[in-house]
């Protein structure tokens, strides 16, 4: 028997299927895994005349190579000097999900108890250089084929400048975006962390943090500044503000009713030490992050005050590339400690006045010829005992979950010798094994999930332009590199 759990997960990281206050609060604390969107855009490949593998480990995002991090750091403006307007891309994901035990009543509305095939996502992107100093990564349109909703996803505008200050090289910029950590150059935090694709048709643990799970993603907007000094020290600070219910409806955030409302200004910061060495064949990063957010649990602002979440986090990343880049090892780790001052939840429902939530995630991947990428990962979430606040699917008073994930990815294209540079495809086979789920060890394995994902990602402009040029007898497509 499957542990009764969350049946639906939205791209905002919220869950629904609870009732009363517990449900509202549970909806607010997010999910262990927020569904990510893959994010190597073929428009970037066309813009730079570089294959996907130049920027991405595994030749398909989002894990960045040293060059990929530079491309992002310098504001997405690097190009081959040609015009490739408009820099658009389209992505589609088709998924198959099997859980060890079936989900009575259906994995989601309109889906069966088990072995579900779904359109995971159809997304539109506008990504590229705007001016020599301004670049964008925008995903304004993302259709969620499970919940049948459409909204925005990871989006960022960067303004950048570089030079020397007192003899030290610097890159400095401004970022405006809609999700904390979307600006991160590394791949341990919520928006770009592994697993890059997850299913919405399997149970997921209820507890998650701001930095580790993106529980505020797409419900906020923010802006701030970042700087890299001497290719060693990275600093970033931003201020976010929660969106009103009307704005969330407009951008497609779903569901709005009964979910958290972020109150006031939310500071986010990151400070990191990072460097590439050995001719960029090795690189590392160690960083620390923090965020403070005031939250009306379940959107209920009737209490005298809101809950306050305070995240302190640390991440570490390491990459090794063989001399010919045919072998790549990547390791990522993240630890988050979230303090919860539950003024509103205590007043409204009698939760503890304070709780805490911690999580640790780590994964290691090996990429062979940027084509075959096996990855293994471990996750552990644990927190204080509170029979009211967590609202776990099991009824447990603790939010603890733990398990392992193994994945094999196959990416046939996206390399220098691929037949096209304006499109790519990824096949993922992923298995999640739970040893503890929402505070319960017994039958945790019933939630184990086998997930198969096929992602297709392409820039529609070059083939259209080529076709038009072929008709007109003009061989100069201006569509970048075609080999």
């Amino acid at each position: 028997m499957l542990i009764e759990g969350v049946a639906m997960e939205t791209k905002t990281g919220n869950s629904c299927r609870f009732s009363g206050f517990i449900g509202l609060v549970a909806a607010s604390v997010g999910m262990m895994f927020s569904p990510h969107v893959a994010n190597a855009t073929p428009a970037f490949a066309v813009q730079t005349s570089q294959p996907c593998s130049a920027c991405h480990v595994g030749a398909y995002g989002p894990q960045l190579t040293p060059y990929g991090r530079d491309f992002k750091l310098y504001g997405y403006v690097s190009d081959d000097g040609k015009s490739h307007f408009p820099p658009v891309a389209i992505m589609e994901r088709t998924t198959f999900t099997n859980t060890k035990d079936k989900q009575e009543g259906g994995a989601a509305s309109g889906f069966g108890d088990n072995n579900n095939i779904a359109i995971g996502e159809i997304s539109g992107f506008y990504t590229g250089k705007v001016t020599d100093n301004i670049g964008v990564y925008l995903e304004p349109f993302s259709y969620d084929g499970v919940n049948r909703t459409t909204g925005w996803a990871n989006s960022e505008i960067r303004i950048v400048h570089d030079g020397k200050l007192l003899g030290v090289d610097y890159v400095a910029g401004i970022t405006a975006n809609n999700a904390p950590t979307v600006s991160d150059l590394w791949n341990a935090t919520s928006q770009w962390g592994w697993p890059f694709d997850v299913t919405e048709l399997a149970p997921a643990p209820v507890a998650g943090t701001l930095i580790g799970d993106g529980t505020a993603q797409f419900q906020v907007v923010g802006a701030g500044a970042y700087a890299m000094l001497d290719d060693w020290v990275y600093a970033e600070a931003e201020l976010y503000h929660g969106l009103s219910a009307g704005t969330r409806n407009f951008v497609g955030d779903w569901p709005v009713t009964g979910t958290d409302t972020y109150d006031g200004v939310m500071p986010y910061w990151k400070l990191a030490l990072q460097h590439s060495f050995d001719s960029d064949h090795q690189s590392f990063e160690v960083g620390t992050m923090g965020m403070v957010a005031n939250v009306y649990p379940g959107g209920d602002d009737m209490a005298a005050s809101s809950d306050r979440k305070t995240d302190l986090a640390a991440d570490a990343n390491y990459q090794w590339f063989s001399k010919d880049n045919s072998n790549i090892i990547s390791a990522h780790a993240l630890y988050v400690h979230e303090n919860l001052d539950l003024h509103a939840s205590e007043a409204l429902a009698g939760s503890n006045p304070k709780d805490e939530l911690q999580e640790f995630k780590a994964n290691v991947s090996y990429a062979y010829k940027q084509t075959w990428i096996p990855t293994v990962g471990f996750f552990h979430t644990w927190g204080s005992t509170d029979p009211v606040y967590w609202g776990t699917s099991t009824g447990s008073a603790i939010p603890n979950s733990q398990g392992y994930i193994a994945e094999l990815t196959y990416v046939p294209w996206g390399k220098q010798d691929s037949p096209i540079q304006w499109g790519n495809v990824r096949f993922e086979l992923q298995y999640t094994d739970y040893t503890q789920f929402d505070g319960v060890g017994t039958h945790a394995e019933d939630n184990n999930t086998l997930f198969f994902n096929i992602g297709i990602f392409f820039d529609p402009v070059p083939p259209i332009r080529d076709a038009v040029n072929a008709i007109e007898g003009n061989s100069n497509s201006g569509s970048g590199q075609h080999s």
Partner: protein
């Protein structure tokens, strides 16, 4: 006859000038310029050789900010740039933003 003499004189001056002009090699390897800073005389040239396995796109930027795109440079290709005027120049690859060097022309 005077015209012919004039052309001959001009041609000989050009030959002497060319013979005195130097050509400085700069490698592009590991997505870096090597060396990353050089000093040449006005009229000297610099030959950039792409020893990487990726395409580069050199831009020569004057101290006033004017940028000249030298075009895509595939692996193994050379680009020869003559620096006729004295000044400080920056050479960057528009594809690889960290790849930059300075050329001081005296």
């Amino acid at each position: 006859m005077r015209k012919m003499l004039g052309f001959a004189l001009l041609a000989s001056q050009c030959i002497v000038y060319a013979a005195n002009a130097a050509d400085v090699p700069v490698d592009q390897a590991g997505q870096k310029f090597n060396p990353d800073s050089i000093t040449v005389k006005a009229g000297d040239s610099v030959t950039f050789t792409n020893k990487d396995d990726v395409t580069h796109n050199i831009h020569v930027i004057t101290s006033g900010g004017d940028s000249e795109d030298k075009g895509l440079q595939k692996p193994g290709e050379n680009i020869k740039e003559t620096f006729a005027k004295a000044g400080d120049y920056q050479v960057r690859c528009s594809i690889h933003p960290k790849m930059k060097m300075t050329v001081t022309v005296q």
